[in-house]
């Protein structure tokens, strides 16, 4: 059973006197909370940078529920990789705590931490990080070898993990004989072979071709359905984040600026920075009926025999339904209770990134339009 991962007020500062730097960052926040706008967070970070001290992660807190895919999204330099490495102790937090399965990782000795890393947390890397001097099987079995599992058993489990990742039959090959996607499957198999509860994935699909990346994303989602691991996934690609993440944390300059579901971020960006990110996102892939429907219903919209949608119906499908029915699409839940309606106009509005009511035309040329409005 997977365990909950908690990060609490994590700071990571590189350079001299990191503890003082953390203190200054904290005080900067306090002043901001008290409404002192002269020094906001960015200023303190810049000041520190001028001193040669880099605040990579500032006050990061979040909780990842068991079985959840938690995506950390941000541009390069936003501190997301550093954040990830604090979660398994590769990088020691300057301040704050990481709790996993009831253990505070920041309080463990090196030896205990290694024990946790070898058994409970595994990691998949951006550039695969396969050992070139080991065969595919030996690579997949690496974590088990570190644990001291006997050869026969670890090879069996490695082969299972490889099969799970679709690499049955490649066990005796060498990493350099495989394509990038296959290499990353080995990387994934290596991470899965140890039966770790927590999977840390550091831009794991970024180095792959777009098509292969999609395959890998599908495979990961597929595997997750059965394995139910707790996954922290780092990416700089919002599309990927939205596709994979149950929840997404957006990072900027070392801080988490927003945490929420894909639709939260898309529809209610916390600030302009996040909003500017969402501009390029293919909304039709992310949005579902639940996000676009109007909940203000009369109650009889679903009484006809027309096609209806569920709150999970993807946006693109919703458009298709909308084209087939003459009126707004009714959204019903599992018990066929009406939860909302989606007028066609609203669909178009979401596509255009505008969540506003249409205006009134002075000389309507299309009566249907008026009809739509009247029904809205």
């Amino acid at each position: 059973m997977s365990a909950r991962l908690e990060a609490e007020n994590l700071y990571k500062v590189f350079g001299r006197k990191p503890d003082q730097a953390v203190e200054r960052l904290r005080q900067g926040d306090v002043r901001k909370d008290q409404g002192d706008a002269r020094k906001d967070q960015g200023d303190v970070r810049e000041e520190l940078r001028a001193d040669g001290t880099t605040a990579a992660v500032i006050d990061a807190s979040f909780t990842v529920e068991p079985g959840e895919i938690f995506v950390v999204m941000g541009l390069s330099g936003s501190g997301k990789s550093t954040l990830l490495r604090m979660l398994n102790g590769l990088s020691e937090p300057t301040a704050g705590h990481v709790r996993f399965g009831g253990q505070d990782l920041t309080e463990l000795s090196d030896r205990e931490l290694r024990e946790v890393r070898s058994k409970k947390i595994s990691m998949v890397f951006q550039h695969f990080a396969l050992f070139p001097h080991r065969s595919v099987r030996d690579n997949a079995a690496y974590g088990l070898e570190v644990q001291g599992v006997p050869r026969a058993e670890r090879e069996r489990r490695a082969d299972e993990a490889l099969a799970l990742c679709g690499l049955a039959g490649w066990e005796k090959s060498w990493p350099d004989e495989l394509s990038g996607g296959m290499q990353q499957r080995v990387g994934l198999a290596r991470a899965l072979a140890t039966d770790a509860d927590l999977l840390l994935m550091d831009e794991s699909f970024s180095a792959l071709d777009p098509l292969i990346r999609r395959d890998m994303q599908d495979q990961l989602l597929d595997l997750q359905k059965t394995l139910k691991k707790t996954i922290v996934f780092i990416t700089h690609d919002l599309n990927e984040a939205m596709r994979l993440g149950d929840r997404i944390a957006v990072m900027r300059d070392g801080r988490i600026v927003q945490i929420g579901s894909a639709q939260d971020i898309l529809i209610r960006p916390a600030n302009d920075y996040v909003a500017s990110f969402t501009k390029d996102v293919d909304r039709s892939r992310v949005l579902t009926a639940a996000a676009v429907m109007e909940t203000d219903v009369r109650g009889d919209e679903a009484d006809c025999d027309c096609e209806t949608a569920t709150p999970d119906t993807p946006f693109s499908e919703l458009c298709a339904i909308s084209a087939r029915v003459p009126h707004s699409v009714a959204v019903v839940d599992g018990d066929r209770r009406l939860v909302g309606v989606v007028p066609a106009q609203r669909l178009i509005g979401f596509l255009g990134d505008e969540d506003v009511e249409p205006g009134v035309c002075q000389s309507p040329r299309d009566k249907g339009g008026k009809k739509v409005i009247s029904r809205a």
Partner: protein, 871 residues
């Protein structure tokens, strides 16, 4: 700018190192020479072609058939050049240096890779080691390690260490950070990260470092030839010295063959030991298809195979034809012819020491010796009765006065062999206030009222009780405790270790003064009387029965240092081991036996001193080759064993001064080598001239018609391009030319004396002769250039060059003591111009590598020579 006396500091720190940490250098030297001797023995043992075959097999395994064949051809070629032995010496040297270099370099490299601070600290040291000219540490290396393989290994090591460290560090740092992180992310310990990830992936780079270590080591091994390391480097130095381009080419080519072989093998080894390289090789083989010829053993199998082959080969060689060189030395003169001698002794330290010393000496001389222990009284009785032949521990006139009075008439006094004796009361030095016998008064409480004495029979005890106590008013305060010498010493040791007050009766000489920090109590009233001499006494008539031994005993004497060191040795060895201890001591003090028991040397006899091999250094100059090989031949007839070491002038003087070398026959003194002589003269001995006259001069080819004298050079600067070709700057001759000769003839404005080296000067001379160009060179006689080329020695009417040098033999300081017989022979040695010339010609005719035959042939024509040299 003030002069920073850096050089002085270096000098004094070198002195300090020599004085204080010589044990460390000795230890290192033992390691180096031990490893070298071992590897060299293995390499030298098999037949050359057999070993060449093994090398070829290794090449075949590592690289393939063609490489195997080429390797065999290359090594066979070395053998055919008669350079095999030297090539293996060089190889052994190189292997030892490489192994030691790697043992040091790899861990340092790993450390540097893991810590930036270590890396920053190590880097300048490596730069320093790699760029400091080798000569600068070669000479101190002789001071620290003596001559031979050790300084060569050290020099090679210093030079070759850097790439090992650098490449190891680089290799580890080059390993992909993500891979290291991946290892850590899966909980790998740092140790396993290093062993399972970093080192295997760094291995190709590390092996490239190994390759560099070997290559640099090989280049240095040639330079190390200067300090008597021998091997191909020695051949190179010799050929340079003699301007023998042919020999130089041969030796050089042999080095190249070794270098190429080692380079190819180590780089191939690099691919074989690294997992990635093995994979690539396997892939390539798989592509070619399976062939029996492409079979390659796993590294483990290969290593075992090579070791087995090596041992088999070594074993065959070792069992086949080893001759025990040391066995020859045993045939000393057994003048004793089994005659029986019995010695009596009192179990006092000096008695035991001298008795067992004589027992050993006499047994070496063929006597059958029996040593019996007595108390003092019975000893005199037994001696007087003729039951024993002599004893060596009679303290006269004071201590044993009573015995002498009683038995003197039945005894012969063979004289005193040690006279710095004294009797005394002694306290440990930590007894601050007690300095004299007077200070004991009133302090009885401190010492518990006890003076720890020895055997009550001892004269000293008698003296103490009857005279000393009274003189100083200690009667009644102190009680003299009768006991025994061992008990007294045990009591002293116990009190000493607890720092308790104690006063004991003691005497000098005694080893206790060596081992403990003791204070002899002053005797201002002279109550102990004058010091005794330790005499040897024999029964009446012994000197008639055994005149040889009696004479030896009469001449017997020992210094305090000798005696105390011998006593300490015996004491250390413990009871029952006295004679072993004496043997150990004799080994440490060579030459004593011959000094104490000299044997008349008949023709063909082997003096005992011949036991220790002689280290003789020689320069690759004609006269030195001749005289050195002549002595080698003659001395080997007399059972000596000589190690010849070819070296450069500076190292020879340093080696002699440090005692690493015993002899050099080619010292040009007092002028030509005066700079070296003056520097080291305190530690050298001049054994006299064996050849004169010599001269220093400036010479021109005889086709330069108008120049017959130094004065003729004036105004002819154009002809000679304003240059006089010189030799090594700093040599006595060059200083003479620059400071005296040039001004004397007014040449200093016209000519420039070109600094260079002897080989360069000879090369320049040869070049000019070939083109019939005018040239003026600094030269000296005798020199082979005069017999090979038609040269004119320029006359020196103003005698600016001064009197000629003579060629002398010089030795290390301890040589005359160690080799008294040989010293005498060498001092009387002379050679005439004809003799030297004919010998040199003979050697030149036979060619390099056949010196010994040439000397043997020459000696046949000069039958009286052996007798003259070693009468």
């Amino acid at each position: 700018m003030p002069r920073i006396p850096l050089g002085d500091w270096v000098n004094s720190s070198v002195d300090w190192l020599l004085d204080n940490v010589s044990w460390l250098f000795t230890f290192l030297k033992d390691i180096f020479t031990g490893a070298y001797d071992g590897i060299n023995a293995v390499l030298q043992a098999p037949e050359p072609l057999l070993l060449a075959g093994i090398f070829a097999v290794i090449a075949f395994w590592l690289r393939g058939t063609f490489a195997g064949i080429l390797s065999f051809a290359g090594f066979a070629f070395i053998d055919s050049l008669e350079l095999w032995e030297n090539a293996m010496v060089t190889l052994a040297l190189l292997l030892v240096a490489t192994i030691i270099a790697l043992v040091v370099a790899v861990p340092v490299g790993i450390w540097a890779a893991r810590s930036d601070r270590v890396s920053a600290f190590v880097r300048p040291i490596l730069d320093f080691m790699q760029t400091l000219p080798a000569m600068i540490y070669l000479i101190p290396a002789i001071l620290f390690f003596g001559t031979g393989s050790a300084p060569g290994i050290v020099a090679t090591l210093i030079f070759a260490l850097a790439p090992g460290v650098r490449m190891t560090e680089l290799g580890i740092r080059q390993v992909d950070k993500e891979l290291v992180e991946a290892a850590e992310a899966f909980g790998t310990t740092p140790r396993n990260t290093l062993l399972r990830v970093q080192l295997p992936l760094a291995l190709p780079t590390v092996m490239a470092g190994v390759n560099q270590v070997i290559m640099l080591g090989l280049s240095m091994a040639a330079i190390a030839g200067m300090v008597g390391t021998g091997g191909l480097g020695g051949d190179v130095m010799e050929s340079i010295g003699q301007l023998n381009v042919g020999l130089g080419a041969e030796a050089g080519l042999a080095i190249v063959i070794l270098a190429i072989y080692l380079d190819r093998m180590t780089s191939a080894l690099g691919t074989h030991v690294s997992p990635l390289g093995r994979r690539a090789a396997a892939k390539a083989r798989a592509a070619k298809g399976l062939k029996i010829w492409s079979y390659r053993p796993q590294p483990q199998v290969a290593v075992i195979g090579i070791v087995v082959l090596g041992l088999v080969a070594g074993g065959m060689g070792l069992f086949g034809g080893t001759t025990d060189d040391t066995a020859t030395a045993a045939g000393g003169k057994k003048v004793g012819e089994g005659k029986k001698v019995s010695i009596g002794y009192i179990p006092w330290d000096e008695g035991v020491a001298s008795t067992y010393l004589w027992k050993e000496i006499l047994e070496q001389r063929g006597f059958e010796v029996e040593a019996k222990q007595f108390e003092a009284g019975p000893l005199y009785t037994a001696l007087a009765q003729g039951n024993i032949d002599f004893q060596t521990d009679s303290w006269l006139p004071t201590t044993h006065e009573q015995y002498w009075k009683k038995y003197g008439k039945q005894l012969e006094d063979l004289g005193s062999w040690y006279d710095q004796t004294s009797l005394e009361l002694t306290v440990p030095s930590y007894m601050k206030d007690i300095n004299s016998l007077e200070d004991l008064k009133g302090k009885a409480d401190l010492f518990g009222g006890k003076i720890t004495g020895i055997e009550p029979s001892a004269g000293e005890m008698n003296l103490l009780k009857s005279k000393i106590l009274k003189e100083y008013g200690l009667d009644g305060q102190y009680k003299v405790v009768d006991s025994s010498t061992p008990a007294m010493l045990a009591e002293l040791k116990r009190a000493y270790s607890k720092k308790e007050p104690i006063v004991v009766t003691l005497w000098s000489p005694h080893w206790a003064y060596n081992d403990y920090d003791l204070k002899k109590l002053k005797d201002p009233k002279g109550a102990w009387g004058k010091g005794d001499g330790v005499h040897s006494l024999s029964r009446k008539g012994f000197s008639d029965d055994n005149p040889v031994v009696a004479k030896w005993l009469k001449d017997f004497s020992m210094t305090e240092k000798q005696l105390t060191s011998l006593e300490a040795e015996i004491n250390k060895a413990g009871k029952g081991q006295q004679q072993e201890a004496v043997r150990t001591w004799l080994k440490a003090n060579p030459g004593i036996v011959d000094k104490l028991a000299p044997v008349e040397n008949g023709s063909g006899g082997t003096p005992a001193e011949a036991k220790q091999p002689l280290d003789v250094a020689w320069f690759p100059w004609e006269e030195d080759v001749a005289v050195t090989y002549l002595w080698k031949n003659v001395l080997e007839r007399r059972g000596y064993k000589m190690n010849l070491k070819q070296m450069d002038v500076g190292p020879v003087y340093t080696g002699l001064a440090s005692g690493g070398i015993d002899l050099n026959f080619d010292a040009w003194l007092p002028h030509a080598q005066s700079n070296y002589w003056n520097k080291h003269k305190d530690n050298l001995v001049d054994l006299g001239t064996w050849y004169e006259p010599t001269s220093l001069e400036i010479a021109v080819p005889s086709y330069v018609k108008d120049v017959k004298s130094l004065a003729d050079l004036k105004g002819k600067a154009d002809l000679f391009d304003g240059k006089i070709i010189g030799i090594e700057p700093g040599t006595g001759q060059m200083q003479l030319v620059k400071n005296d000769v040039m001004p004397a003839y007014g040449l200093e404005d016209e000519y420039k004396v070109v600094d260079g080296s002897t080989p360069a000067m000879l090369a320049e001379l040869k070049r000019a002769l070939a083109k019939k160009e005018p040239v003026a060179v600094t030269l000296w006689s005798p020199h082979w250039a005069y017999s090979d080329y038609d040269l004119t020695k320029l006359k020196d009417p103003k005698k600016a060059f001064g009197e000629g040098n003579t060629i002398r033999t010089i030795s290390s300081k301890k040589f005359p003591e160690q080799y008294p017989q040989l010293t005498k022979w060498i001092k009387n040695f002379k050679m005439s111009e004809d003799e030297l010339g004919s010998l040199e010609a003979e050697i030149k005719d036979r060619g390099q590598g056949h010196e010994e035959e040439a000397v043997a042939a020459w000696l046949k024509e000069h039958p009286d020579m052996v007798g003259r040299m070693t009468p």
